[in-house]
Homo-oligomer: 361 residues x 4
C-alpha cells in the first residue's frame, strides 16, 4: 500500500507516528468487512477505541456535525454525555439497520447487563452513500458483516477500497478509507493524534494536494480521453451527493469539549483538499481520547483525572488539521480503480499522480 | 377510552380540537403495532405527517433535544435541513435496527428513486427503554411490525398500552402513548397544535396533575399496601431510567426555527407533571408543520410561502405547553395495569384517580 | 427580609444551606448598586465567583440560553471555553455599555496584563428590561455604579428591590432579586448549589407557589379593586415583555458540560412558578463551579483535577430545580410595592400572601 | 486602492459584482471612523444592511460562531430570532462599551418607541484585539466615533487600514478590512453574495494565496533582513492572539437557517488562506439577507415571502467560500505598512507580492 508520503509529498510541519495511521494511538484497532462482487461494492469498517470492555470503560468522546445532511446513529447521546460506549462503525447509507443489529448482537453477547440491570447501549454508526458504484438498494450488508469486521480488527489495517470504503467516490475518483497521524511534542512529553476518514465527497476539478491543483489537471486529461462526453461549465455545479466521516483519536487527556473544539478543526483539513461542504454532503466528525476512561454506573462520587490545559491546544489543533488533510489524500491514493453497478467506474488517483508530479518539475 | 377531561379535569385555558388528539391536525394519522405476550410487552407506533408521498413532499420540521441520554435516528438531518421526509416511528431502545429496516423496506418500495437517482432517505426513529416490563433483550420487534403499524394508521387511535407504549412506565405507574390538542385563535382564523407523547420517565412521588400532588398520595397508598417493601428516603433518588418522546404537529405555517422554539416549550408542560429531566432520561421533541411542504429535488429556485409572524408565537407556545402537559397525564390515565417480564408490574393511574379526587373535596 | 420559608412554605425535598442564598457557596459574594428616585428605578448587581484574582484563576462555567430574546455580553466565550474570568453583572437592557465600561475599568486596574501581554477580558453581563417602572431611556446607570456594586459585595445580601432588581416586574407584581440554596448529600460528603435570579417575566394569572394557583386568586382581588379597568380574556395573552436571568453556583467539581446540563434543569424550576418562556422573554442561565480553577496562561500541559461522576448528577439536578423555583418566589415575596415612571406601579406579593394562605385553610 | 485582482490573481470560478465589495448588494453601505495617531491605531466600522429604518424593518440574519474565543454583543438574539435589527459594528476588544453606547444613542434618537412602547434593541457588535499596534488599554474609541462611522456610510468604502481595521494584524503582516463579492447565476435570474472581513489572525508562514505558499517565502525574506532576531522553529507555534470577523450579505431570499448554513462555509474560505482556527482566535460570521424584511410588532398573523429552495444552495455556498477567501487577501493587500504602539510595526503584503509573483514565473 503506497501512501502519499511514498510519492515524496508531505503535508504540514508535524511528523506522523510510526504507522501514520489512527492505530498509532495505543489500543486503537480497525477492522473491515469488504463486500465486493460486480455491482455490489460495499462493506463495514469498525474502529475500536480500546481493547477492553468499552461499555464499562467508556472513552471521553465528542461528535461534531460539519454538515448535517447525514444519517448517523448515536450522535445525540455522545453530545450530551461526552462519552462513547461501543465500537464506532462505518457503512453505507441504507445499511444502518443491519449494522445496528450486528453491533447490538455483539454488545448483548458481551455485556449481559445491557437491557436488564444496565439500561440500553448507544452504538455510533456513520454512513456515506455509495450508490454510484454499489447496488445500495440491495442492502447487501448483513449483521454478520459486523462480526467479520470486529474479528478483523488490527493495528495495521487496509486503506482505500476496504470495508465501508469499498464503493465510495471522492473528487470524481475512487475514494474510501484513508488514515494518517501526527505526533505533538511538548517539552517533557508527546501525544499522538490519529485520523481515519471515509471519503465520498467533492468534485474532481476542486481536488488539491498541498496547494497543487491536481484535480483540474486530471479533469483535463479525462476530457481529452473522453471527447464524446464533454463536461460543460454548468456541470461544475452538478449535485455532489456525498459525505465524509472523520474519526479522530488521541492519547492526550482532552475533555469532551476540547475534543469538540479539535473536531471543528477537521474542516480546515478538508477545505485544503478542495472540499466545499456541499449542501448534500453529510460531513461528520467523531473524536475520542483514550485517557480518563469513564466507568459505567460507577459508585464513586468523584474521581481524579488529568485535565489538558486549554492554552496548550493549538498544537493539537494543528495535528488534527494536518492528519485530516493527509488522510483524505491517502484515501484516494491507496484506492484501486473500481467498476461497479451498471458499469459505473471510478479511476484511481494513483494512476495520475506520477505523471502529474513529473510534469510539475 | 376515558381521558383526563372525562374525570372533570382540564389543563390550561385553551380549548382542545374535536378529538383532543394529534390527529386534529388535518392529514395526520397514527398507527400502532402492539406486541403483547407475558414477558413481551412492546411495539411500534408510527405518525404520518400527511397522507401523500412524504419523501417528495417533505414537511417543515424540527428536532429539539431536551436531554440527550437518547438514541434517536434521524435527528441530525432534521436539524440541518429543517424538514422531515419519512414517517416518524417510536419503539423500544434495542429495536431501532428492526424498525429502521422495516421503514426502509416501505420507503424503497414506494420511492424507487431512493438509492438510485435520489440519494438516501432519513427516517426519524425515537425510542424509550421498556425493559422493566418487557424482555427487551429478546428484540421481539421485527421489520414486519412496521408494516403493521403503517397499515393501522388512522385518526382515531388508541392511547395508553398501544404500540411503542405497550411496555412503558411513567411515574412508577403504567405509561405509554398519550395525546391532546389545542386550538389557537386569532381574529380572522385559527390553528391547531397537537401533541403525542410516549412516556417512560419520572418518579411516583413527583407526579402532579394541574398542581395537585397526586403522586405523593398514591405513593402513600402503595406503601400502606406494601409494608414488607418499605421505600426509604434514599429510594427517592433511585436511578430513573426512562425517557419521553414528544411529537408536536401544527397546521400553522411555522418555519423550522419557529418549530424549534415551540419544541422548547414542551419542557414547561413536562415540568408541570413532575418531570425532573433526570440524567438518564432521554427527552426529545420532534415537531412539524403541515404547511409549506418542501418538494424533493425541486427545479424552481424560489417558491412563495406563508411565513408566521414571530410576534404572534406566544399563543402557539401556550398551546404546546398545555397539550404536552395534558398528553402526559392522558398517557397514564388511559393505560391499563400491566404485568410483564419476571412478574414486574405497573398499576394504572385510573385505579387511583377517582378515590383521590373524591377525598380532595 | 422575610422569605418564602418564613411564611411556612417549603419547596421540594432537599434542605437549603445556612443562609438559603447563593452565598452558601464558600467564596461567593453579591453586591448591589441601587438607583432609586421617582421615575428612576434601576441598578447593578454583581456576583463574584470567588474572592481572588478571577482573571488568573477562572472558574469553570457554562451559559445556557433558555430563550434568546436577550442581549447578554460574554455568553459566546463562556460556551466555547467553559470558563468565566470576571465578575458576573446584572443590569437593565440599555445600560450594558456603561456596565461594560465600569467592569473594564475595574479589570484594567487590577490586571495590568490585560491588553498588553495577556489578551482581552470577557466580562459576563446579563440584562432585563425594567422600562415599565424605570426611565430606561435615561440610561441612569453609570460606570461608577459598577464600582459601588463591587464595593458592596458581601455574603448576606439584599433580595427584592435591590441592584438590578430595583425596577423589575414579575407576574404583574414587583419582581427583582431572589435567591435560595440546596445541600446535596452523598454518603461521605455534601455539596451546595446556590441560585440567584433576576425576575422580570410572567403573567399574574399564571403564578403558582408549589402548585397553588395564587396568581389567579390575586388577579381576581385586583379586578375587584379595579373595576373601571376590567381585564378581558384577550388580555391574558397580552405581550409579556420580560426576561429572567438565573445564576447557579456550586462547590461540586462539575465540568462545563455538566454545568450546562445543570443549567437546563433551571427551566423546570421556572415552569413550576408559572413561566411560559414567552417569545419576548430573554431567559438565560449562567452557572459556575468554584472547584478546579483554571490558571490563565498556565505553563503546565496538564493538571490533576477532580471529576464529578456523571451518574451522580441527578441529585444535583434536583437541587438546582428546587433552588430556582424557590428563588423566583423569593424575588417576589421580598420585593416592596414600587411606584416608578409615569405613575406606573407594581404591588408586592407579600401584601397578598397571608390572606391567600389563611383563606386556603 | 489596488486589490488582489489588480495583481492578476483571481480566486475561484464565479465572477465578482461591479465593485467586488459587500456593497454590491443593493442597499448595503459601509462607514469607517479611523483613529490614528502614533500609538493609537484603532477605529469603528459600521455595516448598514439597508438604508431604511432597520429596527422596524429587520433583515433576516444569522450568526455562526467558528471559534468562540470572542466577545461579540448581540449574537444570542440573532440566533434565537433569525433577524438583525440595528447596524452591525466592528471595533477593538476593549471598546465594546463605547460602541454600544454610541449605537444606542443613535437608535434612541431615531426610534422613540425603543424603551417605551417597543422593548429594547439588540445591536450586533464584534471585535478583534488590536493591542499589538494599538494602545488598547487607552480605550480611545468614544461613542461619537460611532456617529462618525454612521455619517461616513457609502457604497465605495476603503479597505485595509480603515475603521476597525486600522490597527489589526493578520499573518504577521498588516491586516484590517477586506471585501469581495460574487454573482451567482441561475437560468432566469442572478443573486449577489458579498463579504466583508476584519482580519486579525494567522501566522505568516501559513499564508497562502490560491494555493501558493507566499507566507513561507515572505518569512524567509524577513529572516534574511532580520538576522539578529532569528525565529526558531518553536516560534511557529507561538500564541496567535487574534480573531476574524466575517460579514456576509446577500439579496437572495435565504432563511435564517440557510444563512447559517452559508456562514459555516466561510470556514472553507478562511482555511484556504492558511487559517488554523487557533485556540485564541475569535472567529465569527454574521450573515443577512436583504429580502423578506421583518416588520417589528407587525399586526398580521402571517405574510407571504419567497423561500429559497434548499437544493439550490450549492452555488450560494461556493460564492460565499470564494468571496471570503478573496476578502481575506484583499484585507492584507490593501493595507499599508503601519508603525504603532511601542514601535511595533507590521509590513504590508503589497510590498512583497510583486517580487513573489515575478520569481514564481
Amino acid at each position: 500500500m503506497k501512501k502519499l508520503r511514498d510519492y515524496g509529498i508531505t503535508i504540514g510541519k508535524l511528523s506522523p507516528g510510526p504507522r501514520n495511521q489512527i492505530t498509532d494511538i495505543s489500543g486503537v484497532t480497525v477492522g473491515h468487512s469488504t463486500i465486493k462482487d460486480g455491482s455490489i461494492q460495499t462493506g463495514v469498517t469498525v474502529i475500536l477505541p480500546h481493547q477492553g470492555d468499552i461499555y464499562n470503560k467508556k472513552v471521553v468522546g465528542a461528535c461534531h456535525i460539519i454538515n448535517g445532511y447525514s444519517k448517523p446513529k448515536g450522535a445525540v447521546q455522545v453530545q450530551e454525555l461526552g462519552s462513547i460506549e461501543a465500537p464506532i462503525l462505518l457503512t453505507n447509507s441504507l445499511s444502518i439497520g443491519a449494522v445496528w443489529d450486528g453491533i447490538i448482537d455483539h454488545m448483548l453477547e458481551n455485556n449481559e447487563e445491557i437491557g436488564t440491570s444496565a439500561g440500553a447501549v448507544n452504538p455510533v454508526i456513520a454512513e456515506c452513500n455509495d450508490s454510484f458504484l454499489n447496488d445500495i438498494r440491495g442492502r447487501h450488508v448483513k449483521r454478520h458483516h459486523v462480526s467479520e469486521a470486529l474479528a478483523d480488527g488490527k493495528e495495521d489495517f487496509g486503506e482505500g477500497n476496504f470495508g465501508a470504503g469499498t464503493g465510495m467516490t471522492a473528487f470524481g475518483l475512487k475514494g474510501g478509507i484513508g488514515s494518517s497521524s501526527r505526533v505533538v511534542e511538548f517539552d517533557d512529553r508527546h501525544y499522538t493524534i490519529g485520523s481515519l476518514v471515509l471519503t465520498n465527497f467533492g468534485r474532481l476539478e476542486d481536488l488539491m494536494i498541498d496547494g497543487r491543483k491536481i484535480g483540474a489537471w486530471i479533469n483535463e486529461k479525462q476530457e481529452e480521453k473522453d471527447e464524446e462526453h464533454p463536461r460543460d461549465l454548468q456541470n461544475q455545479f452538478s449535485e455532489t451527493k456525498g459525505s465524509v466521516v472523520i474519526v479522530l483519536a488521541t492519547d492526550a487527556p482532552l475533555t469532551d469539549r476540547q475534543l469538540e473544539r479539535l473536531s471543528k478543526r477537521a474542516t480546515v483539513g478538508l477545505a485544503r483538499t478542495g472540499a466545499e461542504l456541499a449542501h448534500k454532503s453529510g460531513d461528520l466528525v467523531i473524536a475520542f481520547s483514550t485517557k480518563n476512561l469513564i466507568t459505567h454506573a460507577g459508585t464513586e462520587v468523584t474521581e481524579t483525572v488529568e485535565r489538558f490545559e486549554e492554552d496548550m491546544l493549538d498544537r493539537m489543533f494543528i495535528g488534527a488539521i494536518e492528519a485530516v488533510e493527509e488522510s483524505v489524500i491517502n484515501s484516494l491514493i491507496t484506492a484501486e480503480k473500481t467498476v461497479g453497478r451498471d458499469g459505473h467506474y471510478r479511476e484511481s488517483l494513483k494512476d495520475y499522480i506520477e505523471d502529474y508530479l513529473s510534469q510539475q518539475q
